[in-house]
Amino acid sequence: MKAIPTIDGHHHRWRLRDLAWLSGPQVPRIFGPYQPICRAYTIDEFGSDVAGSHVVQSVYVQTKLAGRTKPG
């Protein structure tokens, strides 16, 4: 199928210190076990993720709230 230039309309990125739940105990979440994402997720890693995917632009959706305990 022909590749279509795509806008990723929903992603996050974060530093480990930005979200308390990344460093807190693992608890039941809406999306299940999440240890693999309890780390920094940089814009560079996002760039690597989308490489070859025809994503040409992106929209960051709010994430960072100090003291926040729930992800989403």
């Binding site: 992603h11 299940g32 995917s53 994503v55 003291g67 729930k70």
Partner: protein, 229 residues
């Protein structure tokens, strides 16, 4: 009804929303990514007007998200109450979005869609974006029917668009046989012009990735009109 829904959970000072926005803007200024930003604001905050004005000054800002989803299952619950969208003070904050040209990301479950449709009707000059295609967590026959009925009310409002994102949230996987019907149903109901794609990275990195193209495969299946069987 409480006049201030935010008192039942830890309050988030407006300054943190602005800090996050400035950080996102600063990274975009250097790297070129991302190209747009949906910021946090609590519409019920008495000072939300000043925050919206500051956020709107940043070139990247396009809209606001405050997660309003409430579910009988506490694990799925984010908002402190199911009817946040009916709160008078919260609504007055939403009413300020249009003057700044900001949209609102509507993250709600099926049981809240009727209220979501009323909200969209009350603010016809504001664009709403239904997140994660309306978060289908109950795929039973009855659950699917309720989800479709709720979304029907939303699709009747021309100022509601829908985001094809987070479709593996309740499956903890990205299986075409689950995802493709959601995409097909959404495109059929809303029309392609009202649909947008979102990867929900890095949350969905837990079970899929871009390079395998598994995110795109269901979309391609739908677009090609192929039979999954």
């Amino acid at each position: 009804m409480s006049s201030n829904p935010s008192t039942s959970r830890p309050n988030w000072p407006a300054g943190q929303s602005l800090d996050e926005a400035r950080w996102v803007q600063s990274v975009a200024d250097v790297t070129g990514w991302p190209h747009a930003y949906v910021a946090h604001a609590d519409p019920a905050d008495p000072d939300v007007g000043a925050l919206l004005a500051r956020l709107a000054e940043l070139p990247l800002t396009r809209g606001i998200r405050q997660q309003a989803h409430w579910h009988a299952n506490p694990q799925y619950r984010f908002a402190p109450r199911p009817d946040l969208m009916n709160d008078r003070q919260w609504r007055s904050g939403v009413g300020l979005l249009a003057q700044h040209g900001l949209l609102f990301e509507l993250q709600i479950f099926t049981s809240q869609m009727a209220d979501g449709a009323k909200l969209a009707r009350a603010f016809p000059d504001t664009t709403f974006v239904l997140e994660h295609a309306g978060m289908l967590e109950d795929r039973s026959v009855e659950g699917l029917q309720r989800w479709r009925e709720g979304r029907r009310e939303l699709t009747d409002r021309s100022n509601v668009n829908v985001k094809l994102s987070g479709l593996g949230t309740f499956d903890h996987a990205y299986r075409p046989e689950i995802v493709a019907p959601i995409i097909a149903d959404t495109v059929a109901m809303f029309g392609a012009d009202r649909c947008l794609y979102g990867s929900n990275s890095p949350i969905e990195k837990l079970w899929t990735d871009y390079t395998s193209r598994r995110w795109h495969r269901p979309i391609h299946i739908v677009m090609a009109g192929l039979d999954l069987a």
